[in-house]
C-alpha cells in the first residue's frame, strides 16, 4: 500500500515537473497502420504477434534481443550464470522506472515472475520458465533465479515481452490487463480495439528520449487500403503481411519497403499418427516430391528463404545439406513403392484462411506437386479459430502452418519433439535422438558444442520428416521518406520505433 501511495504521489510530482516538456511547440506524431490489432493488454498472457508488437513498446523484459538476435540489456544491465548453471543473477538498471515514475525494483521482478508461474494466471508462456524454482532478492537492484536444473535457453526466453516486468502494485490490485503500466519507451494513451490506439512517450523511460512524441496507430483491416493510405500520405509507417501487397510498395514513389527475414517458418505438418504418414518412407517421399523453392516462388512470389527446421541464423544448417532439399521425383516414387503405396493415396490438408496470406496458394502448389507421386490432396480452408481447434486436437492428415520461431532452438522445438513436449499430440512424433539432442543442448553452456548438437538435430529432423519445412517469410515494414532510423529485427519487434525520427 505504501508503495502504491508513493507511486501516486511521485506521479503527481512528475506530472508537475514534466508538464511543460510534454507540450512542446509541435509534438512529432508518427502515424502508423496495421491490419491486425492486439487482442489484449496483459503482456504475460498475450501470445499473438499482433498483441506482442504493441506490448513490446509499452513493457520491458529483463533482457531483449538485438537485430542479430544477441541477448542485450533491457531492465537488467548485466547478468551471469553460476558455475554449476543452477542460478542466474540479474543486476537491474537503477534508472529503470515505470511510466508512473516508480522505480523498477527486484520486488517488481519477483512479483512478476510469481504471477507468470502461477497457474491461476493462465499464461501460456509459463512452460518456458518452469525451471525457476525460487527467486531471491538480496537487494533492490539484484535478482537471483534459482533453477531446478541447468537451463541455458532460459536467458533468450526471458527476452520476450511474455517475461515483462510489471509493477508489483498493479499485480496486487489486479489492474494488469486494464491499465498498461510498463517501463518501455511508450505508454498507452488510448485503445479502441480493432480501430485505433495512441501511444505517447514515457517520460520516465530509462532509455532517454524517444525520437517521436506520439505514435498514432490505425487498424486498417484491408492491406490494399493501407497501401492507399501510405500513398495518400495519411500514414508514415505500416506493417504488412501479404507479399502480394508488400511487393507493390517499392513501385510507389516516396515509399520504401523494409524486408526482414523472419525466424518463423511456413511448414507442411504431416500427422505421423495417421496412416500412411506413419510410414517413414511415405513422409520422406513427400519431402522428396515437394520443390520448396517452387512453393516459395509460386505461392509467395519468392518472398522468403527456403529453410530447414532451425531458422535462427546462428544455429541453422545450410538447407542444401538437408535430406531431399533438392527435389527428386524418381526417389520419391521409389520410396512410395517401397512403403507399399505405388499408386499413392488420398489425404486432406487443412489451412487457415488468410493465416498466413499465402496459406491457400502454398497448399495448391503442393497439391500439384504431390499429384506427381499419386497423392491426391484435398484442401480444406478454415476460419482461423476453427483451424486452431483442429490443429490443437491433432485432427488433420496434413496442415499448412506458419509457426513462430524462437531465438533458441530448444525453446522452439522442445514443445513438439521431446518426449515431454506439451504439443506432442500435435506433432505426434518424437524419437530418442531428437529427445536426447534437445535435452543435452538445454544443459550445455559451451556455444560451439551447442551449435554442433543443434546441427545434428536439424539434420536428423529433416531426415525423419514428420513435417516438411518450406520457407521463412519476410516481415514487412513500409515507410514514407520522412521516416528515419527504423531498425527491424528477425522477431518482428517494433522496439526500433523508439529511435525513429520524422523529417
Amino acid at each position: 500500500m505504501t508503495r502504491h501511495l508513493n507511486g501516486l504521489s511521485s506521479l503527481a510530482l512528475a506530472a508537475l515537473l514534466v508538464a511543460p516538456a510534454l507540450a512542446p511547440a509541435q509534438a512529432a506524431t508518427l502515424k502508423m497502420a496495421w491490419s491486425q490489432d492486439a487482442t489484449g493488454l496483459d503482456p504475460q498472457k498475450q501470445t499473438a504477434f499482433s498483441s506482442i508488437r504493441l506490448l513490446e513498446l509499452i513493457y520491458e523484459p529483463l533482457v531483449r534481443l538485438d537485430a542479430k538476435l544477441n541477448v542485450v540489456p533491457a531492465i537488467a544491465k548485466s547478468w551471469e550464470f553460476s558455475a554449476d548453471g543452477l542460478s542466474l543473477t540479474f543486476h537491474l538498471d537503477p534508472k529503470a522506472a515505470f511510466s508512473d515514475g516508480a522505480p523498477v525494483t527486484s520486488a517488481d521482478v519477483k512479483a512478476s515472475f510469481q504471477r507468470l508461474l502461477d497457474e491461476k494466471t493462465g499464461a501460456a508462456a509459463r512452460s518456458n520458465y518452469t525451471s525457476i524454482a525460487a527467486i531471491d532478492t538480496p537487494d533492490a537492484q539484484t535478482v537471483v533465479f534459482r533453477l531446478s536444473q541447468p537451463d541455458v535457453p532460459i536467458l533468450a526466453a526471458l527476452a520476450g515481452v511474455n517475461a515483462a516486468v510489471l509493477p508489483a502494485a498493479a499485480i496486487a490490485d489486479g489492474s494488469v490487463g486494464t491499465k498498461a503500466i510498463g517501463s518501455g519507451p511508450f505508454m498507452l494513451a488510448s485503445w479502441d480495439p480493432n480501430a485505433r490506439e495512441v501511444l505517447t512517450a514515457n517520460p520516465h523511460w530509462a532509455g532517454g528520449k524517444t525520437g517521436v512524441d506520439e505514435i498514432d496507430i490505425s487498424v486498417l483491416p484491408d492491406e490494399t487500403g493501407i497501401l492507399a493510405a501510405l500513398r495518400a500520405g495519411q500514414i508514415d509507417l505500416a506493417l504488412l503481411n501479404d507479399p502480394l501487397v508488400a511487393t507493390l510498395v517499392p513501385k510507389e514513389q516516396g515509399l520504401t519497403l523494409v524486408r526482414t527475414p523472419s525466424i518463423s517458418y511456413n511448414v507442411l505438418q504431416l500427422n505421423p499418427a495417421r496412416k500412411p504418414m506413419t510410414e517413414l518412407k511415405v513422409r520422406q517421399a513427400i519431402s522428396c516430391a515437394i520443390d520448396r523453392k517452387a512453393v516459395l516462388d509460386t505461392a509467395a512470389l519468392g518472398e522468403g528463404q527456403v529453410t530447414g527446421p532451425i531458422t535462427v541464423p546462428a544455429y541453422a544448417t545450410d538447407p542444401a545439406k538437408l535430406f531431399c532439399y533438392t527435389p527428386d521425383l524418381a526417389k520419391a516414387k521409389a520410396l512410395m513403392k517401397d512403403a507399399g503405396y505405388p499408386d499413392g493415396f488420398s489425404a486432406t490438408v487443412i489451412a487457415a484462411t488468410g493465416e498466413p496470406a499465402t496459406a491457400e496458394a502454398e497448399a495448391q502448389v503442393m497439391q500439384a506437386e504431390l499429384k506427381q507421386i499419386g497423392i491426391k490432396l484435398d484442401i480444406k480452408m478454415m476460419e482461423l479459430n476453427v483451424y486452431v481447434d483442429a490443429w490443437l486436437k491433432g485432427d488433420f492428415d496434413m496442415a499448412v502452418a506458419l509457426n513462430g520461431g524462437r531465438p533458441d532452438p530448444y525453446t522452439m522445438y522442445n514443445r513438439y519433439f521431446t518426449k515431454t513436449g506439451n504439443l506432442l499430440k500435435v506433432s505426434n512424433y518424437t524419437d530418442d535422438t531428437l529427445d536426447s539432442l534437445l535435452n543435452e543442448a538445454r544443459v550445455t553452456t559451451d556455444p560451439a558444442k551447442r551449435k554442433d548438437l543443434f546441427a545434428q538435430f536439424d539434420t536428423h529432423l529433416a531426415e525423419v520428416s514428420p513435417w516438411i519445412w518450406l520457407f521463412t517469410p519476410y516481415t514487412y515494414v513500409a515507410e514514407r521518406a520522412n521516416v528515419q532510423g527504423f531498425v527491424p529485427t528477425p522477431t518482428g519487434s517494433l522496439y526500433g520505433l523508439s529511435a525513429v525520427t520524422l523529417k
Binding site: G40, T47, A48, K120, A125, L392
Partner: protein, 318 residues
Amino acid sequence: MNTLTRRLAAFPLVLLGVSSLVFMAIRLVPGDAITAMLGTEAGLLTPAQKQALAAYFGLDRPWIVQYGRWLWALLHGDLGISVTYGKPVLGVILARFPLTLELAVLSLLIALAIGVPAGVYAATRAEKGADLAVRVGAMIGQSTPSFVFGLLLIYLLSAGFGVLPAMGTFAPLWVDPLANLGQMILPALTLGAAFAASLTRIARSAMLDVLSEDYVRTARARGVPARQVIWRHALPNALIPVVTLSGIEFGYLLGGAVIVEQIYALPGLGRMVLDAILQRDYALVQGTVLFIAFNFMLVNLLVDLAYYGLDPRIRGRG
C-alpha cells in the same frame, strides 16, 4: 390498432428467440475465447491454467447456466462485459452505433434521391430508350458487389488524384462535421448506389402498376396535367413498396455494413461484430445481435405506421 398491439407484444418473444439462437450458434462454432486469444499457443496450457482461463472468460459453467445468467442480467438491463474491450457491452455498442446510424441515413438519402426519380422517370418512358438505359444502369448497380465498387472508388481516388478520405482516424460528426462528411461520403455512395439500384427497380414497377389503375385513368380523362397526375396522384400510391424496401434495407444497414466498413476502415457496428465473432467475444456478439434485431423490428414497425399515413385505404381498414 389491433395489429400494432399484437406486434408490440411479439417484440420480447422475437428478441428471446433471437438471443437463444445466437447464444447457441456462437458456441457451436469450434474454438473459444481462449484459442482466439492464444492461437496454437493454447496447447501449452496446463489443465489448471485452462481451468483458470475458462473461469475468467465465463466458460466454465454448462451452457444452460451461462444462458440463464445472461438472461437474468439482461432483464436488469445488463448485457455483460466484453472480454476484448474489458468494458460493458452496451457502452461498446453505443460508442460504435452513431457511425453506423449516420452511414445508414446517408445511404438511404442517397438511394432515395437517385432511386425514386429514376424509377418514376423510367416508368413514364416505359419500354422506350430512356427506360432501357435506367434499367440497365439499375441492373449493373445492383449486381456490382460493394467490395468491387468500393475498392474501385478508392483506387481511382488514390492512384488517379492522390487523395483519399482519412481512413482509420475517424472524426465523429459532432467533433468535425466537414472531416466527418469527407470520410463518410465514399462509403455512403458505395452503399447508396446498390440500394438506389434496387429502389429504382421497385419504384419503376410500382409506378407502372399505379399508372394503369382506374383512378389514374379517371384523372387523366378529367384533363389533369400529366405532371400532376404522376407526382400528386400516382406517386404517393406507388410509394408503399418503396417504403417497405427502404425500411428493410435501412434495417439491414443499422446492423452495420461489414464489407464497406472493412474496406474504408470505418469503426462501425459491422466490423465490431465481425471482430467479436473472430475473437469469440460471446457477450459482445450476443449483445450486438440483440441490439441489431431490436433496431430491425423497430424500423419495420415504423414502416407499418408509415403505411397508415401514406395510403388512406389502409387507414380505413384499421
